[in-house]
Amino acid sequence: MQHRSHIYGVVAEFETAEELIVAAEKTRMAGYRRFEAYSPFPIEGLAEAIGLKRNAVPLITLIGGLCGGFGGFGLQYWVAVIAYPQNIGGRPLNSWPAFIPVTFEMTVLGAALCAVFGMLALNGLPRPHHPLFNVNRFSRHATSDRFYLCIEARDPRFHLSDSARFLQELKATHVFEVEDD
């Protein structure tokens, strides 16, 4: 293994989204696993090209929604039946139809909070700095108009000059070495 601690990886720049998808597929076929594509907008087909399958956000959202819903109904039940029962003309204490609106709102609230914060947590954000920001062109263009593919040094097949040459052959317009810090 050619792991060198002060190198994060090599990054290649592409002109178009289509070239990035092709490059990602070829990189995967070449046996690389620790690589990542970067684009200024979500690209259809890129996730498949780098071999991503499902993610955990929907499950987290479901759990959040269920917690919110059961928590919301539970709270109302507890308040209306146990903590503060009010006998109004002998009507049932557990008047569940009247509890539906709040239960619904709490379901949505729980699900939405979990969707957003779950997504951020899985993505490891906030993370103010990243080694790729050391590459000047990446900082200037990755969130604007260029597409990047980075093979990371922790990939067992990573070799600084070989991997760089490999990327160059994929029609990359630039290839940079990314320093770790």
């Binding site: 209306a80 709102e105 909070l113 969707a115 779950g118 969130t143 604007s144």
Partner: protein, 459 residues
């Protein structure tokens, strides 16, 4: 006002959602330049100053209210709700179009939503902020507002969860939170763009912190898209539920004119109607002031006009149905209320409402009107006014004419009522002015996606 693009007389030519010739870099430059490089224009300063002046009026009105109590308003028994609730319902309705555009049109895969969803969502947030203020100060003791939330108090008291007013607390606060999340998630990639394009250090640091280190990685986008889609799916039933709950504030009560099952759907349609009108009121000056005609095209304006026409007809049906039910039911209190709408002391409000909300919008059937920017702007103002009148008619006429003649009364607003309302208009406008100056008013990442998609279609 000038329009660009192909001529309108050929019906086959479909107006584009983005003018041709744009690249990733050009949309990025154009939208981020409004925030980063453009000098503050005189018009912006003038508009902001005016709006800020109104915010001062609001501050004074609210301060006086807190000192003296709600008696400074025109409210009294029998009309305890008055302007505060009229304005609350009006503002929250306006907010709904933002969610509709960002969530429902997203789920329906409507490309044209892309360039208007960001500021429509901002509009939602600011409208909800204005809306939330009214019930809060209407309580008379806003510093006790936390009583409405369930918390273990030493008095052992709990909120009454069977009351629509408590449902309202949960619905509106959930709506505000989810709208903020939706807007914030949409902003992350754009904040990263601004961070990378900012030249000055303070801007780099502020946008850097707000963007949370976003770098557009494919894994991140993958989860981001899941979260965004789920939020859209959650916001869609939410927006319908919020105005349904708002209508329950009325419909659950037995007051004549309120106690009807048509209220939830007709309130939701009315909310979308007034919201789209407000989006147009904002979009038309915005695209002019910042040369965004390439991104907010005639197609957008025309589509919004069509949505207004459709929802306006649903609202018209609601008015008709109210009238029909009062006659058909034979209930004398309902019948009398309907008479009061046509012939009572507030009938001029009712006729103005019919004029603004039903008759004038019929002009939107005409394509020439739908594609005339000035006419649309005027129309949007008329509909905004009409929807305010609708809520006035619902709140005031019913409350002044309920079951017993001894309980009848009159309502007239005081200068503080008007000052508070004008103040929230100022707050809303001021927040919008700040928003277009410090954040991208159009989603840059989604515009790039649109450039990508339209260039694929061309090939």
């Amino acid at each position: 006002m000038s329009t660009s693009g192909p001529p309108f007389d050929s019906a086959e030519v479909r107006e584009p959602v983005i003018e041709p010739g744009h690249t990733y870099a050009s949309v990025t430059d154009k939208i981020s330049s409004i925030v980063l490089t453009r000098p503050t224009s005189l018009g912006w300063v003038a508009g902001f100053t005016l709006a800020f002046g109104l915010v001062m009026v609001l501050t004074i009105a609210v301060a006086w209210l807190i000192i003296k109590g709600v008696g400074i308003w025109g409210i009294n028994i029998p009309v305890g709700w008055g302007f505060a609730i009229v304005n609350f319902v009006w503002w929250i309705g306006i907010g709904h179009a933002g969610t509709l555009i960002s969530a429902i049109l997203f789920l329906l895969n409507q490309q044209w939503r892309t360039s208007i969803n960001r500021f429509a969502e901002a509009m939602t947030l600011f409208a909800v902020a204005c809306a939330g203020l009214f019930p809060l100060i209407h309580t008379g003791r806003p510093w006790m507002a936390y009583y409405m939330f369930p918390y273990p108090s030493t008095m052992g008291l709990w909120p009454q969860f069977r009351s629509p007013l408590i449902w309202d607390v949960f619905a509106v606060s959930t709506y505000g939170t989810v709208s903020l999340l939706f807007w914030g998630v949409g902003l992350i990639p754009d904040l990263a763009t601004l961070r990378d394009r900012a030249i000055t250090k303070p801007k780099q640091i502020i946008f850097g912190m707000l963007s949370m280190g976003w770098r557009g990685s494919a894994r991140h986008w993958h989860r981001y898209q899941s979260a965004y889609l789920l939020l859209a799916g959650l916001a869609t039933p939410l927006v319908l539920s919020v105005h349904t709950v708002v209508s329950f504030d009325f419909a659950i009560a037995i007051v004549p004119g309120w106690h009807t099952t048509i209220f939830p759907p007709y309130f939701v349609a009315g909310a979308i109607y007034s919201g789209f009108a407000m989006v147009l009121t904002i979009a038309i000056p915005l695209r002019k002031a910042y040369d965004l005609e390439d991104f907010i095209t005639m197609r957008h304006l025309e589509n919004m006009a069509k949505v207004m026409l459709a929802t306006g007809l649903i609202v018209a049906y609601g008015y008709y149905y109210e009238y029909f039910m009062s006659v058909y039911s034979g209930n004398k209190f309902d019948l009398y209320l309907t008479q009061m709408r046509f012939h009572g002391p507030y009938s001029h409000f009712y006729y103005a409402l019919i004029l603004c909300n039903i008759l004038t919008p019929q002009l939107l059937w005409i394509r020439r009107i739908r594609t005339n920017v000035a006419a649309l702007f005027v129309m949007s103002l008329v509909i905004n006014l009409g929807m305010w009148l609708e809520r006035f008619v619902i709140v005031v006429i019913s409350l002044t004419r309920d079951f017993m003649p001894s309980a009848w009364g009159r309502f007239s607003a005081t200068v503080w009522d008007y000052a508070t309302f004008a103040g929230t208009l100022g707050l809303f406008t001021m927040l919008l002015f700040l928003f277009v100056r410090v954040l991208p008013a159009i989603s840059i990442a989604e515009m790039r996606e649109l450039v990508h998609e339209t260039s694929e279609e061309d090939e």
